[in-house]
């Protein structure tokens, strides 16, 4: 579900109650947001243990730092910022992270601006359930190969459905920078998927 500006109705009241030290308000915020936080962390780290530890860190931070939340941004945006940072920390702490060079990962063009290579239409990818597992792995591996900042932008925008403005607030970047990062990430992913699907797509 996409977050709209202002977040979940009722967040403000819960946040005020939590600031006064009401445990029930914390429990209510936990219940409301634990799924989102876990999913975000899981989609960034692709590791169940990292995602669980990130979720623990996030809600400890919410409890302890709620006094720092000034209400200028929506609570959900503040929470997404903490969660994204926690997930990225887990990701960066993991050894052996080899990421593709995003500069070279997009499509190639000739000097006159035409596509340098033929562009096939693989948009109608097969829905065969037996082959879906391999396809999932290919897409997941392609996302995993993105540099962390690009991955975070893709997860927040394309999976969580935040607006460019909201992603910018969460990542502490300009809207322009977010749009550029997203587009480059999608172009890199499209190239990887094109290589796979143009080579014959899923094989049993």
């Amino acid at each position: 579900m996409a977050l709209t500006t202002g977040g979940h109705a009722g967040d403000t009241a819960l946040v005020e109650r939590l600031k006064r030290g009401e445990e029930e308000a914390f429990a209510a915020l936990l219940k409301r947001y634990q799924g989102k936080v876990y999913r975000l962390a899981m989609n960034i780290t692709r590791n169940a243990q990292d995602a669980e530890e990130a979720a623990q860190d996030v809600f400890l931070a919410v409890y302890r730092k709620i006094g720092d939340f000034d209400g200028r941004a929506a609570f959900s945006t503040w929470l997404y910022r903490i969660a994204t940072n926690a997930a990225l920390m887990k990701l960066r702490a993991r050894p052996g992270g080899q990421h593709l060079s995003i500069e070279d990962a997009g499509p190639a063009f000739a000097a006159d601006g035409h596509h340098a290579r033929p562009v096939a239409d693989w948009s109608e990818v097969p829905e065969d359930r037996l082959l879906a597992a391999e396809r999932r792995r290919v897409v997941q591996d392609a996302i995993a190969a993105l540099p962390p900042d690009y991955k975070a932008a893709v997860v927040l925008r394309d999976i969580e459905g935040l607006s460019n403005q909201e992603v910018a607030e969460v990542l502490g970047a300009t809207v322009l920078a977010v749009k550029s990062r997203l587009h480059r990430a999608r172009l890199a992913l499209r190239e990887r998927l094109a290589t796979y699907f143009e080579a014959g797509g899923p094989r049993a």
């Binding site: 999913r39 409890y63 596509h115 897409v139």
Partner: protein, 81 residues
């Protein structure tokens, strides 16, 4: 006439309807005349669909329980630490 490279550079804004009308019209025209770019646009859209398709959906129930238990214990021991 816009080039294929320009179309690709502007594709995200084009799909979100955020381009000035004259630029969007140029790209409409380019797409009508350029099958490779039309294929590129379709597969770019499919890419974002596939990203959503492989996303992890739900928090496991047992994890909800573990998270609540973890937080209760930690916050009881050292609420502000």
């Amino acid at each position: 006439m816009r080039s294929c490279k320009e179309l690709v550079d502007l594709l995200a804004d084009y799909l979100e309807g955020q381009l000035p009308p004259d630029v969007a019209r140029d790209l409409d025209q380019h797409l009508a005349d350029c099958p490779p770019c039309l294929n590129f646009l379709k597969t770019y859209r499919t890419t974002t669909r596939l990203i959503r398709e492989v996303a992890c959906e739900d928090i496991p129930l047992e994890l909800e329980d573990r998270l609540l238990k973890f937080l209760r214990e930690r916050l009881k021991r050292a609420p502000g630490a």
